[in-house]
Assembly symmetry: C2
Homo-oligomer: 224 residues x 2
Amino acid sequence: MSEIKVVTNILKANDELSALNSKKFDEKSIYVINLMSSPGSGKTSILEKVITKLKPEMKIGIIEGDLYTTMDTQRIESKGVPVVQINTEGACHLDANMIQDAINNLNLNGLELLVVENVGNLVCPAEFEIGEDIKITVLSTTEGNDKPLKYPLAFEKSGAVILNKVDLIEYTDFDKQRFYDDVRSINETVTFFETSCTKDLGLDELCIWIKNKVEEKQNASKGK
Amino acid sequence: MSEIKVVTNILKANDELSALNSKKFDEKSIYVINLMSSPGSGKTSILEKVITKLKPEMKIGIIEGDLYTTMDTQRIESKGVPVVQINTEGACHLDANMIQDAINNLNLNGLELLVVENVGNLVCPAEFEIGEDIKITVLSTTEGNDKPLKYPLAFEKSGAVILNKVDLIEYTDFDKQRFYDDVRSINETVTFFETSCTKDLGLDELCIWIKNKVEEKQNASKGK
């Protein structure tokens, strides 16, 4: 029972810090995406593509979450945008406190889009709010269409779901209709994207959608 | 600080229960595999193949770990072996206490091989001993060769690593030499297997190796 109480306290403390982060992002009119998936679904590859396509149009910052390494940060840095690395030292998710530390090391002035690439884990990250505007979950076709029902929280909490590696679907038994039906049964209002980073499919649509979200947030803050 | 203390206490309590499970498995001469990977690497598919190939030669039992669903248990039950389902209700890993409960619902008499399919998660399951003889981690080629360095604990603690979906490697940029070098840098003594469940590759080698391990344990207990 004491374990449960501690977990509840941790989540409550996290929610409070998350609200502070969110307030800061709103004040600066920064649209914040929390990008989640299993290891190897293609979060970093999608990010590389999105940065390349959107960098001429807006100021982008990235927070990279990893257990120990800086491999993804090196990939993102080569795209010429500011990146802050969070090493969780074994912890299985990012939390609001880590994000608070990270944004103290990031120049937020003028930033319009901040993408936080979470630790590769389809379970734990979905439990921790970090102050984001939206969670986006990536699933790759090679992981199988049964994952939304098996790991529902990430799909339930996401505003958008990206089905990645659609170029490989023909080599798998992935049932796309089943996948869509299952995600909709958990989350009626989710927006879907289908992408392939190797074949550059669906990424323009994703970027247009992100750009609209960023503009909505800019306009909302101007209207205040 | 109190959070860290609680975590340490949880891991200590888990180690004690794990030792009890291990003692029970040794008394019954049951070889126990803790099968770990990200969601969608192919744990259940590998298990289906292993059961089909080894069932004529030994008595096999399975424990299926999942957050909520019984989808994998249904797949395994159709292979005609006893299965106990553990639903973690959102928890991101199995622990020794869950296994203790599960084996109270499994007839251990005469059992020679018990495979525990852990929750799909490359981070947390590796932290919790469950009383197993060996941990085996599965990685699929479509997840990318950078995963051992990014998620080292599972690879460090495993006695064997299975590279699955080798039939898809030609459609990816997976660098096999890099993968082997990286795993070896974390774990010098690991045994490697390469498998494809759709093409039935490497599974006979895996089954022969498992059979040897099971026989070693049987012989060791006879020698006592």
